[in-house]
Symmetry: C2
Subunit: 282 residues, 2 copies
């Protein structure tokens, strides 16, 4: 424990990441565009429709401003209105994602192995990549009904607090990892501290044993295993994870059976040459 703390501190202890930026309004950025995108990002799993006033409240904007921005978003086809006048995301928003999906054709080759993992864990298996300081789920197989959330492409989550995320972090090397951790610490000061030793352990474990486990660190009722895959030719870091309901996950089984098997699956996926091997395996 002290050991792992030390490792993490070594990596990302002192020093401000961005001396002053990030909260101050950066005059090199376009605030109108940001606000428009922030409106789109307000929608999520549980909030699928929003009123003008609600948007204004949440973003601290004037109602008139929101009205105009939403009108623009509707004009562009990314928003629609329900009969009551509330705003909804329009399906056309999927079109923005299409190029990302079609650029990850390699994904299809992982369907087989992922199915196997999902079956052997009686849970689901997901594929995630790093985007910014989050992981983004790109694909998933398995039974969705047994989960509190809907595992679909586009779910995002914290890199330092989930099995997927930690497996992804383990792929970062030297300065890259340092920067990312510093960034995470900066953005989630409390949370980061709370999970720092678990995160450090998980990273180390991914590198030595090929997998890591999270017992509800992110979604309370889900036990997850993560395993790093590598980096694609266009620079995406990729990891696999599998998740199962907490009640059906005996620790002994997870650590000594499922974990090693996932590591093995990852090994054989890497054999295909789809990814640049992690630095710690070279």
């Amino acid at each position: 424990m002290t050991d792992s703390k030390t490792i993490l501190n070594q990596w990302a202890d002192e020093g401000e990441v961005e001396p002053e930026a990030s909260y101050a309004v950066d005059h090199a950025l376009s605030s109108t565009l940001m606000r428009g995108l922030e409106i789109l990002a307000l929608f999520n799993d549980s909030v699928d429709r929003l009123s003008n006033a609600e948007i204004a409240r949440q973003l601290g904007l004037n109602r008139a401003t929101v009205s105009r921005l939403c009108k623009t978003l509707i004009h562009m086809g990314y928003l629609r209105r329900d009969p009551k006048g509330q705003f909804l995301l329009a399906p056309r928003i999927l079109a923005l994602s299409y190029p990302v999906l079609s650029a990850t054709r390699w994904r299809h080759q992982l369907v087989g192995p992922m199915r196997e993992i999902a079956e052997m864990s009686s849970g689901n298996c997901t594929l995630a990549v790093i985007s910014g300081d989050q992981f983004v789920q790109v694909y998933s197989v398995g039974n969705p009904t047994s989960f509190p959330h809907v595992p679909e492409p586009g779910i995002t989550g914290p890199l330092h607090r989930s099995a997927s995320g930690r497996a992804l972090l383990s792929l970062l090397e030297g300065q890259d990892l340092y920067d990312m951790l510093a960034n995470l610490r900066h953005n989630f000061p409390d949370e980061f501290e709370e999970h720092s030793s678990l995160t450090a352990d998980a990273i180390t474990r991914c590198r030595t044993e090929g997998f890591c486990a999270s017992y509800g660190d992110w979604r309370p009722n889900i036990v997850a295993l993560g395993t790093p895959l590598g980096k694609t030719s266009d620079g995406l870091y990729v990891a696999l994870a599998c998740g199962l309901p907490r009640f059906s996950a005996r620790e002994d089984y997870v650590e000594n059976d499922l974990g090693p098997r996932m590591a093995k699956a990852a090994d054989s996926i890497r054999m295909t040459g789809l990814f640049e091997s992690p630095f710690f395996l070279k």
Copy 2:
């Protein structure tokens, strides 16, 4: 043929749709936001990376402007740069889609029937909804490798020139259909004329026989069958389609075997009560 022309003309012949708008800069819309979104929309199946200059050229913007907008998009996490400095969509863009996908939970109940259709046609089966004047594919099953494109959520296509689109059009009633057709004619004058009789026939056929066929009207080498499903509780029009390579699609088989079977499949899907039945079946 003259018959079908008449039908269509009846629906949407004379009259300008929007007296003057649509090309003139609408001062009620936010141009900065539009430009930012237009940048994201430049990416597609074949164009996965763009330079600043290329973006500026395509959108007719100053390079400095593009630089700032892209910086903003990167800051928001929706764009990234490759080693050469070119811009790429970041996976985080998938996160915008997630609420749309998770809102269409009913989709999971169609997986079974869709698999069957894909198998019996030795092609693929796709689920599409209307968004604006396009259809958007929401889900697909089947073998992707035999196709020239990658069938993934997010593909968009023309409502008047594809089996999916025509099946969706058949669901629109009265004024709604009239408006949509007028809109399509306005946006694609030549194309619309060229396909008008086929479109009219297809709509009629969907309503009477439950399906329509397109022999390469959209993707030249693909024969597609479309069948209307209905309207979801939150107002989305939904249709199924199946596509197969042209060479393996004998017309007799398509018309007299596959088509009726798709119509039958659609019927039994409608029995589940997931959708509000089409007006022409009430």
